[in-house]
Symmetry: C2
Subunit: 373 residues, 2 copies
């Protein structure tokens, strides 16, 4: 099934920084069919460098980033559910972001794009859901930065979400998580081709962006999955080169993933989105994380993975404790996996069973918006 | 006590790659006094970016990198032991390396410096120890890359070392460890000021080197120590800047440490030394790690730290198992610490007690070279 990316225009979006963006484009895809009662819609939230193409295959034959989780008979069963995924605000895959044309200048925004937050991303998604005529989502689900958006939905639009599935995520970045993001930003901004973000129609800061991506890839895998995948195997040679060319398979892999990333991602989006993640703190302005979740009305399924050291299980457990502290309906599963942070994308056996069962219950116990009011 | 760096000239050093370096300068410092029986000498091995200044204070009042472990009454008690530390081959702190003048051209070597290995570093140290007239060392000790050199001493010069103290180290880099090093190398080589290593007397690749160092610093700390030191505290501001300047303390710290590093370390040394670490594999050419340790004649004290995720305890335990498999005299301590890989440098309470006790036994049971022969 070839899916098309669709676009809608949101006339006005006021951001946390106070600025208002006009005519914001949202790129999104949908899979499955919206029921007449409009109670089977699930919003999927993508991670940092993901996009709206979550399932099916595109015109180039490329499967969506969560195609193993979304489709007929899969965890997010498109025979039963109407699944939506949109590219985030600030992205570079169809939704308005720093590479979009600034109507005030006729040039790409670059660093003139306003600062954005996870909350802004979710506000735009709510406008999309409203435009699609969906009063209440059956579920909002996503991993990593997707999970942050899930949490934001739970507190920003509590009555509009039956169930929240934050996966491999956190309610706020730790110093270490900020540190890794900052390293990527510095790598980009250190590239002389960066030109303070004004590199469109010129040479992009490819070397800096590539280094940033290399750091990212290390954090997405685990020590063990890297050992299994690469070990100390040499790449196309029998002995060391002593010349700073590729010796080891793992070097070749990282260089390849780094250079490949440059073709599909915008360096300014990298800066804006990582800052949005670092700024995100669900508990900001509240005496505690539990207090910030006071407003939530959803059921929760929280999932983490044993070998995920970038978003370690203790961060999910903090959320779970906070939710339980406010007597929310919460199920928590720490799944065993060697795949590190990538587990939510690739190690989907148990995850599929758990999500499927949880969603079935949410369908049975769905509380329409009118009931809540 | 102000210590002076001393220099000695080794006329010729043949490297693993087959080349021979002439007139190799070795920078070293010594602390304490060599006994008449010459049986109280301890060689300290520095880590990646360390140098010969391990103890005491220099002319600028700067203490040595292990001054808390080496000195009168300390773990390496200079009232009892004659302690030596030399800058490694390939370094940039006095010992011959890529920033040294290539006698063939009258210019700095740059990338014309031959590829080096941990084994080459140790071969040069053996020449220094011979030049100092020490037939057998009481101990060789070091953390991180220092520990690799300790292991290399154990198998390269088994009769010349009474005791080996490899700390927070590994017998071979994992894919993840290689990956972090490769990211640093790519950051340096991506800097347009790198000019294929030929940047001396010009602008050094400061931005790339700084990014490389930022990645390094994250790996030296633990998630927990970063949380304790920085948390999500903002730096000199009350709210987010949305301008890609420093928001968080941890960003400020990393930028500072990155930029500071540029003033004291040479980018080419970064490349050569990280490659030497990645190439190091004590078991190379042997059927097993245990087999490679067959030749060793030393006693071993192996130390690792619970929160060290860069050189995790399982790597020390592999060594310990291999040593026990060959019936070596080995003591292993996994010390509890929140400081991550930095623990061997900063969390020295228990480490001091253990090292002190171990060294005292090694003195009592010292087997002079003649006895072994």
């Amino acid at each position: 099934m070839i899916v098309e990316t669709q676009f809608t225009l949101i006339p006005s979006l006021t951001l946390d920084v106070g600025e208002t963006l006009k005519d914001v484009t949202v790129a999104y895809q949908t899979y499955g069919t919206l029921n007449a009662d409009r109670m089977n819609a699930i919003l999927i939230e993508h991670a940092f460098t993901g996009d709206a193409h979550a399932a099916g295959i595109d015109h180039e034959g490329k499967p969506g980033w969560w195609a193993n989780m979304i489709g007929p008979g899969k965890a997010f069963d498109t025979d039963r559910y109407f699944v939506i995924c949109s590219n985030v605000l600030g992205g570079c895959r169809g939704t308005t972001g720093p590479s979009s044309i600034n109507p005030a200048t006729g040039q790409p925004y670059g660093l003139k794009f306003p600062g954005i937050t996870i909350s802004d991303m979710v506000r735009l998604q709510k406008a999309l859901i409203d435009a699609l005529g969906i009063p209440k989502l059956l579920a909002v689900a996503g991993g990593s930065m997707g999970g942050m958006q899930v949490l934001e939905w739970a507190v920003a639009y509590p009555e509009a979400v039956e169930a929240c599935l934050p996966i491999a995520t956190t309610a706020r970045h730790s110093a270490q998580q900020i540190a890794f993001n900052e390293t990527g930003r510095q790598a980009i901004m250190a590239d002389p081709d960066f030109h303070a973000g004004d590199y469109y129609y010129k040479t992009p800061p490819a070397r800096g962006l590539s280094v940033a991506r290399m750091v990212g890839h290390i954090t997405y895998m685990s020590d063990e999955s890297m050992r299994e995948k690469f070990g100390r195997r040499l790449r196309d040679k029998k002995s060391f080169g002593y010349d700073f060319e590729v010796d080891f398979e793992v070097e070749s892999y990282l260089r390849y993933r780094g250079s490949q990333f440059v073709g599909r991602f915008d360096a300014n989006s990298y800066l804006y989105i990582t800052k949005a993640m670092d700024y995100f703190d669900l508990s900001a302005g509240f005496p505690s994380l539990a207090a910030s979740l006071e407003r939530a009305r959803s059921r929760f399924l929280v999932i983490s993975f044993t070998s995920d050291w970038l978003y370690p299980s203790y961060q999910s457990q903090e959320m779970v404790n906070a939710l339980r502290g406010r007597n929310h309906d919460v199920t928590y599963c720490e799944l065993s996996s060697n795949y590190g942070h990538d587990a939510f994308l690739v190690d989907i056996g148990e995850q599929t069973e758990i999500v499927r069962g949880f969603l079935a219950r949410c369908v049975r116990e769905f509380r329409p918006l009118e009931v809540l009011r």
